[in-house]
């Protein structure tokens, strides 16, 4: 029994799958149908990593040899930005011209008796199913196969927001090169890499593209524009163009790659990944290897082989698409990071996909990271010029006003649910002292109420009484005795989430009415129908609560806290002013973003006046309600910028819990990504709140400029 296989698409994926299957099973009848001529030379360089090359070598030695004979190999990455140049090594790549690769694969196919029909367009893949056991849809981005059976594949196709165009040049680039150049129209981003001819991809945000009139320029005009703009890199060399076109990156995913156990998708037809992270060609060829292995495993059982193939490839493709998405999004938002120092900008770029951390970079290029650590140390104020040796970023101090945090690790205790009338329990204070004497840079208390009414549960700790500042003060004294760890008070008014039972058995469970107290909020909307309806705050209430925050600040000062943080998140009082879900006032405290910000800002200003000028004041800001009708990331970004203008010293970033109606995101990158965005849009120092678990994670976040402080929960910490 031998199989008949028809392959739609004679690109690298289709050809490679064919040759591997035919090599292992000479009796298989394999035919490739390709719409372009055999000697079509469109396309530029294709990039492979070392890892890909070794897979190719294992799958078919001859192909691998032919590729390695024809390729160009390089190691470092060069980054040109704001007139500086940084080179980081250890990222091994190889590049080959697409046309050369196709030729190698075609030759090999011919050698193995794979039938190839060029200039043969397939209009309807169904015709190829009649006499075949399997049809491979390797027909690329605009796959006809995918379209024909889209009910089975269920494609999800979207577009990236950045514009790009693919060029080549004879100017030799000897390493992978990123160039970031601003002109009067905006920022231009170059991805260039070596090859017999170099590849030169130009990418930009849409408004830059329009500002430069690129939508209306002719090919010649565009080439001239860029040859001019990059004359320092290109020298006298011209830019070359084939099939000149500006595109948005097409993001393609499919719920399934399998139609009726007879048609399978492979390569770009099935999935794309942004060019900044590796190539579609690499993915296609790896798909081919997996398909060939599937048949090795399952013999001629086509359905079993197709299941095996998809099961095998899905996790790897998903992981790569995740990394590619992060990388693509980075390039779509580079202007956000232009305020950064070039050295940090480079590290941020190199760690953009989530697959390369600080420790990974150190393994790839130890000297680069050593030099970076020394630079970072100087920047963190440890020295005038880079010292001879330095510890990693996590160990560097952070100065907030006159307060010096000795390092970037932050610890926070669990909520105290055992305070009595706001006085923190002895057990809780001991826990805080324990945290404060383990060499962390900073301890931030659990949210502490500014009044009895502002508590979450009867057991919430407070700072509204001398008794409270005495208790906290005693704990702080104990910490001061033994360490340099700085201590911050996190001030809260629970708003409509108050008067609830201790959180042992769940969140927001209302106290029985005999024990509950009246709740305050911008609008009289209860948290859920089971919760108490809060009172809509009138002018008196607004003034009174503001005064409570001021008094709490004074108590915090009496207790000896180094830092004060106001909670504008998680649906508590101040964040419920920010959110349209909870604030429908029609006075000056509700409505537009400015109006919704008015009261929280007023509270902050009053507290700032009462809090010593040499001590920092921070805001825990809601990044998003995870509800499209709520407080959104865009509004949070605007808010963060306003906070930067009004003397906020630190931003801690949280999300969710404003309403039960939310689509939360508990992935490990959600909060760090919000922090990265808010920090860099506002240029305020930022604290991540998601509990990093390794020093590598902290070094990566701090070193790359995604955050300045990280809450830390080491796994073996008891």
């Amino acid at each position: 029994m031998s199989l008949t296989i028809n392959v739609i698409g004679g690109g690298p994926g289709g050809l490679y799958a064919s040759l591997l299957l035919k090599k292992a099973n000479p009796d298989y009848d394999i035919t490739v149908y390709e719409r372009d001529p055999a000697d079509n030379t469109y396309g530029w360089g294709v990039v492979f990593s070392d890892a890909t090359l070794s897979s190719l070598r294992e799958a078919d030695y001859e192909t691998h040899e032919a590729i390695t004979d024809a390729f160009v190999h390089w190691n470092p990455i060069d980054i040109y930005y704001k007139g500086t140049h940084h080179r980081c090594g250890g990222h091994s790549f190889a590049g080959i011209m697409r046309a050369d690769l196709l030729e190698i694969l075609q030759d090999r196919c011919a050698e193995l008796d794979v039938e190839m029909h060029h200039e043969h367009n397939i209009e309807d893949p169904d015709h190829l199913r009649d006499d075949a056991d399997l049809v491979i849809g390797a027909d690329g981005l605009k796959s006809v196969t995918r379209e024909r059976y889209e009910e089975s594949f269920r494609p999800k196709i979207s577009e990236g927001s950045a514009k790009f165009a693919w060029f080549g040049t004879e100017k030799p680039f000897d390493v992978f090169t990123f160039i970031f150049r601003e002109n009067e129209h905006g920022l231009w981003q170059i991805h260039a890499y070596p090859g017999p001819k170099s590849t030169f991809i130009i990418e930009c945000q849409e408004d830059t593209w329009r500002a430069a009139g690129m939508d209306e320029k002719s090919e010649a005009e565009a080439l001239s524009y860029f040859e001019d703009l990059f004359s320092d890199h290109l020298g006298d060399y011209e830019l070359l163009s084939k099939l000149y076109a500006w595109r948005n990156f097409p993001v393609v995913r499919n719920r399934s790659w399998n139609h009726e156990q007879e048609v399978i998708l492979l390569g770009d037809a099935a999935h794309t990944a942004h060019f900044s992270i590796g190539s579609g060609t690499k993915l296609a060829m790896e798909d081919s290897i997996a398909l060939y292995e599937a048949f090795e495993e399952k013999g001629e059982d086509v359905p079993a082989a197709l299941d095996w193939y998809e099961k095998e490839r899905r996790p790897r493709v998903n992981a790569l698409q995740e990394a590619a998405k992060r990388s693509r999004r980075y390039f779509e938002h580079v202007p956000r990071y232009l305020h950064m120092d070039p050295y940090q900008f480079s590290v941020h770029l190199l760690t953009r996909s989530g697959r390369i951390s600080y420790d990974n970079l150190r393994i790839r290029d130890p000297e680069f990271v050593d030099a970076y650590d020394r630079w970072f140390a100087a920047k963190a104020g440890e020295a005038e010029t880079p010292p001879a040796i330095a510890t990693p970023p996590l160990f560097k101090p952070l100065e907030l006003r006159e307060v010096r945090l000795p390092n970037r690790a932050v610890l926070t205790p669990d909520l105290d649910d055992a305070a009595s009338d706001g006085r923190p329990s002895a057990g809780h204070l001991d826990a805080v002292v324990d945290l404060g004497t383990t060499d962390a840079g900073f301890v931030l208390t659990d949210p502490v109420a500014v009044s009895a009414q502002g508590r979450i549960t009867p057991g919430t700790a407070g700072l509204y009484d001398d008794d409270h500042s005495d208790a906290w003060g005693e704990a702080i004294d104990r910490i001061r005795d033994r360490s340099d760890t700085r201590v911050g008070a996190h001030l809260l008014h629970a708003g409509r989430r108050g008067a609830t039972r201790p959180r042992e058995t769940g969140l927001d469970r209302p106290l029985p009415s005999t024990d509950a107290w009246e709740l305050l909020a911008p609008s009289a909307k209860p948290y859920t129908s089971a919760n108490q309806r809060p009172k809509r705050m009138d002018e008196e209430d607004l003034a009174a609560v503001r005064e409570e925050f001021v008094m709490a600040a004074e108590h915090a000062e009496a207790a000896g806290f180094d830092h004060l943080q106001l909670h504008w998140g998680h649906g508590y009082l101040l964040s419920s002013f920010l959110s349209p879900l909870t604030n429908d006032r029609d006075d000056e405290y509700g409505g537009s973003l400015d109006d919704r910000l008015r009261y929280p800002m007023a509270v902050m200003e009053s507290v700032r006046e009462a809090w010593p000028a040499d001590k920092p004041l921070g805001i825990t800001l809601q990044a998003t309600d995870w509800n499209s009708n709520g407080f959104t990331l865009a509004q949070a970004t605007e808010t963060a910028r306003r906070l930067a203008e009004t003397g906020c010293d630190l931003l801690a970033v949280v999300a969710g819990q404003t309403s039960m109606r939310q689509r939360p995101d508990y992935s490990e990158t959600a909060l760090p990504d919000y922090t990265d965005r808010l920090r860099n849009e506002s240029e305020l120092p930022a604290l991540t709140t998601h509990n990093a678990t390794t020093t590598d994670e902290i070094n990566t976040l701090i070193g790359s400029g995604r955050a300045d402080l990280c809450t830390f929960h080491p796994s073996a910490f008891e």
């Binding site: 669990d414 058995t505 769940g506 969140l507 819990q657 508990y666 992935s667 490990e668």
Partner: protein, 286 residues
């Protein structure tokens, strides 16, 4: 980490003798809990009735629904049944709940499939109210009610865990699959300001013996999960069939911070109990 064992309530031949012998052996053996599965349109024994019977012949081992599909049942009756088992077992019930994926179960009991998510969230809220209220008794022995675990993998699952439950129960898979979801549970828990940490439970499937036994186990899993399509084969391939695989699996879960791991048989017979007890007893005696 503690290791529990699933009762054979969904296997052919699950009768009074096998069920009670199994429970009593586990009580004396190295296992700290007894799990059950839930399926209406199937020949399985009802999970809660099964646990209630086991409550009568045991006194220390934890009784766990791992999981039952909450929205298939009325909130009040579910609360009452759970409280009853808690009383009859003297506070040994852990109620693991999730949505349940089989549409036929929903249709058969007349529950709305499409709105099951929202119903489930409401139900979780209602259960506590019932257990703490005076209208519907009995009052559970455990204060606040039985331990509640929520299962699933959607974002809403983890919202439910952090909002209503005492912990998370994972649906099965290799240790790293568990780890990925456990991380999300911890994340949601931390963000919500719940005290301490969520309980983290997992489960796995085994069939110990010769090749025939292993194949029988895989066949059972293929058939039981046939409704998931190609995924059934993946589950069958994950079946643990040698002591070595079993130990590695259990260790893997322990490394990832699992608090309790329930191992489910896929082939009926006390022999399967004995073989698992041998492996677990040697390595993880409590």
């Amino acid at each position: 980490m503690q290791v529990g064992i699933g009762l054979p309530n969904t296997l052919d031949g699950a009768d009074r003798d096998l069920t009670l012998d199994w429970a009593m052996a586990a009580e004396d053996g190295p296992f700290t809990s007894l799990g059950v599965f839930d399926r209406v349109v199937y020949h399985s024994l009802d999970p809660m009735a099964t646990l209630a019977a086991c409550a009568g012949v045991t006194s220390e081992i934890e009784l766990v629904t791992s999981i039952i599909a909450g929205p298939l049942r009325s909130d009040a009756l579910l609360a009452k049944k759970a409280a009853t088992i808690d009383v009859l077992s003297n506070g040994r019930l852990t109620l693991g709940l999730a949505l349940g994926a089989r549409q036929d179960d929903y249709e058969t009991v007349g529950a709305d499939y499409r709105g099951r998510g929202r119903r489930f969230t409401q139900q979780l809220d209602a259960l506590r109210e019932f257990w703490e209220g005076d209208d519907i008794g009995p009052a559970p022995v455990q204060s606040g009610g039985p331990t509640v675990l929520v299962g699933g993998e959607s974002d809403r699952t983890f919202q439910r865990v952090s909002r209503f439950a005492d912990g998370y129960i994972h649906g099965g898979g290799p240790p790293r699959a568990f780890a990925r979801q456990a991380d999300r549970a911890r994340q949601a828990w931390d963000e919500s300001g719940r005290p301490a940490d969520p309980e983290l439970w997992g489960h796995g499937y085994y069939a110990l013996g010769d090749d025939e036994v292993a194949e029988a186990g895989r066949e059972y899993l293929r058939e039981y999960y046939a409704f998931t399509g190609p995924f059934a084969e993946r589950i069958a391939e994950g079946l643990l069939t040698t002591p070595q695989e079993l130990v590695q699996f259990i260790r893997g879960y322990e490394d990832e911070g699992c608090d309790e791991l329930i191992m489910f048989p896929t082939v009926p017979g006390m022999d399967q109990y004995d073989r698992l007890a041998d492996v677990v007893g040697d390595e993880w005696s409590t």
